[in-house]
Symmetry: C2
DNA sequence: TCGCTGCTGCCAGAATCTGACAGCAGGTCC
DNA sequence: GGACCTGCTGTCAGATTCTGGCAGCAGCGA
């Protein structure tokens, strides 16, 4: 196995563990000595991987994605830059910042000439006109990532308010509004919720009992089937 | 110099040349023997770099970006995926395809677990409702990249049509429309053109005499200055 | 205090990379 | 056709890098 492949493997193994893992364990897993493992960890850290080691405990990898060397065509990089610029203009500030960070991260590792090309990518995104929602969508995204139940107050199209406890699994971005898709515990059905009609968002910390991938798949199947209605806007 | 850094350098040098470069030249440039150069080229090709070698001529790199190993946080990868999904829904088919390709390329090099996470990134983009423009925006983007003059027929808000020859340097994406920003040769001023009002697009193949970066900068300065009007919609 | 762990320096052996040479194939130019 | 340039592959010895084992220091918790 080549060294670069081994490094990717190492990240992968670290990623599987939430608790700290000892260097000894990691070294056994990838089949090298403990000494080489320390060198590999140092190399990965040098490449920007957020690996933290603590004496007496072990190593933890902050959640993240490791990409190997990659080649993009001009149009592909244009697409990525344009897309990230669009995200960078979203009202969801944390996500917008992440998009900007990602672009900066890519630019940082590029040679000067390529960086200039990136800056000069002349695809622009117009300003957004609609009002931002009152809630922090970052909380919704976090709840989706962690598969946690979410409580909030919802005001439907008619103006009637209701308290909700849901299992969120997707967030859809439309031109004007953002919509959370979730399984509603009270109604026992899929519902979608416009972000600008939600308030009093509260993460419960309680893990919901299904996988978000499975729920997404089921919801999509419901959308395709002609005899079903899929998710309804949460008025009922 | 480490081998990986050398490979990045090699791509960079190849990128500077539009004409084929001989292996001998490249080998001298990065300070290795011709034999090692062949090995490096093979390695790069193995990593997906579109380098083409022809006997009697030399090497050419198709336009593209090489990224070294890179680490992204969860939110950063969410932002990139969401952005690319948005681009993938643009009416500009070539750009949309490029966005899809870029995502596929990223997914292809990831270990299974990470790929699943990527697929399951539950940020969705809603469908686009507005009508697509009649022209192929890919031609506009190509003209911008190559800094070539562009001819077309423009129908302004009042319905009056006029023939135009412009120096395009930017393309702006709004919710409903896409707008090309260019220097208009006839009016001798910056103008912007709604893509849905353009027709009969024709690349001239003639390079315009300024750099697109410089024009973009000047145009932006015009937008900021309160006493100037920046680009006007091309009615005059 | 002890045990566990991260981390670094050192050094010899293993693995890889590199350069030189030879040879073949495909193109251009005369 | 012939001379020449170039890409590409095989082989092999020497240079370089990587690796594993050992020793030692430091931080943390019991």
């Amino acid at each position: 196995m080549s060294r670069s492949a081994r490094l990717l493997d190492l990240v992968q193994i670290l990623r599987r563990h939430r608790r700290p893992v000892s260097g000894r364990t990691l070294a056994d897993a990838i089949g090298v000595s403990i000494r080489t493992l320390y060198r590999d960890i140092a190399t990965l850290q040098g490449q920007g991987a957020p690996i933290e080691g603590e004496a007496g405990l072990g190593y933890v990898l902050k959640p993240g994605f490791m990409l190997p060397p990659l080649m993009f065509t001009d149009e592909e990089i244009e697409a990525i830059v344009l897309g990230s610029r669009w995200v960078a203009k979203q009202p969801d500030k944390r996500l917008a910042a992440a998009a900007a960070d990602a672009l900066a991260k890519i630019a940082a590792v590029l040679p000067d000439e390529l960086r200039d090309d990136l800056d000069a990518t002349t695809l622009l995104v117009g300003p957004r006109s609609e009002n931002a929602e009152a809630i922090d969508l970052g909380i919704v995204r976090q709840a989706i990532r962690d598969e946690r139940k979410l409580g909030f107050l919802y005001r439907d199209a008619g103006g009637a308010a209701s308290k909700r406890l849901v299992w969120p699994f997707a967030l859809a971005f439309f031109d004007k509004v953002r919509v959370m898709v979730a399984w509603c515990e009270t109604r026992q059905d899929f519902r979608h919720f416009r972000a600008d009609r939600m308030s009093g968002l509260a993460t419960t910390g309680i893990r919901y009992p299904r996988r978000r991938q499975a729920m997404l798949k089921e919801w999509r199947a419901g959308l395709d089937a002609p005899d079903r209605n899929g998710a309804k806007d949460a008025s009922g």
